[in-house]
Symmetry: C2
Subunit: 188 residues, 2 copies
DNA sequence: CCTTATTTGTACTATTTGGTACAGTATATA
DNA sequence: TATATACTGTACCAAATAGTACAAATAAGG
């Protein structure tokens, strides 16, 4: 058995870049082969179902990253406020302080929503649920926690849209700052 | 001179539907001819620059709608709170209570951002500015007004993303409700 | 009615699309 | 080193792509 599946996972970052830049239908195999450095032969060896499978792999990868760096840490039994602060830092890092878009959000707005509705829905549901539970542990009521969690996830996605629309990543920074404060005051 | 340019403007609604559903690169001329009922001959007669010009026309149309129904009313010299309430109602109507996406936001996240950056940036800038001025007139400080306006526009876009992602338009309704309250309390 | 300009259907094209076929190469294990 | 398996490059394909050319139809103004 030659090279392990390491190669496959190596390509996922490059695939993510391509899909982020061109969207799903806009990402041509020509561009994909160029950016990954893999010929069609290898590409269809690793992803027999073609573009669909490549995009699925990228979405899974993003999901796993958030699961590990955001959702799971949010359930940490220690101080929930620390966990929430950790979420904001991870989110800021992941989205490059507003310069990177959310692939799941972008796919939700595009012609890709139907095709990828399961992973898209899962991602946002798990995020909202994990944050809700953390907020519950800070002392908020169930309703408060649910609404605040939704408000946070909504604002993060909105900030990514506006930051990109106005070509001003500061929107994202301001939004994160506001949300931190929003949670701090909601606890009183 | 035969038929006026009425036909051209008639097609814009249909074009909007197609772009909303398939995105820019995903919107094929085949689909466009079908949904507009116009053959390629007519299409390229009205839009000599093809898809690019069709999309530009749609974006302009959206912009004009918001100018007339949202931005201008926000400057109404009467009670600014009435103007803001009017904005929320117009927005709720335009986005079909969260079932319709924002074409400008979707284009901002896609491979179309560069191509249409001017209209995209204009749209969100004018919206934020108009709302800022209205909030100023309710008695907020300049900083408060600017931040609150940004928060509102961000939340509306975010709500559209999440509503579509989770296939739950209620997110949009809840967000609008929360924003109204947010503005009401910000004034004290 | 006749001229002029606008509108439209049809046939066409050059290019790109995603995907396949498959022979050949590399490589790890036994 | 033999062999089974994993990988990859190349040539290929049918379908779809955006866009063009242009003759025919339509409609209004004089």
């Amino acid at each position: 058995m030659p090279r392990e599946i390491a190669e496959r996972s190596d390509t996922i970052a490059a695939l993510g870049e391509v899909f982020r830049k061109h969207g799903y239908s806009g990402a041509s195999l020509a561009e994909i082969t160029e950016r990954t450095g893999l010929g069609k032969g290898s590409l269809y060896h690793f992803f027999p179902d073609g573009k669909q499978e490549m995009a699925e792999a990228v979405l899974e990868d993003v999901s796993r990253w958030f699961e590990a760096h955001v959702f799971t840490p949010l359930q940490d039994p220690a101080d929930p406020m620390d966990a929430i602060e950790h979420m904001f830092e991870a989110v800021d890092a992941y989205f490059h302080s507003g310069e990177r878009i959310c692939l799941l959000g972008a796919f939700a707005l595009g012609d890709t929503r139907e095709r990828f509705k399961a992973p898209i829905n899962d991602y946002f549901t798990r995020w909202t649920d994990a944050l809700t539970r953390a907020l519950l542990r800070t002392g908020l009521t169930r309703t408060q926690a649910r609404h605040t969690a939704e408000e946070v996830v909504v604002a993060i996605q909105g900030a990514l849209v506006i930051a990109r629309s106005r070509q001003d990543p500061q929107v994202f920074a301001r939004t994160l700052r506001r949300l931190r404060q929003r949670i701090a005051t909601a606890r009183q």
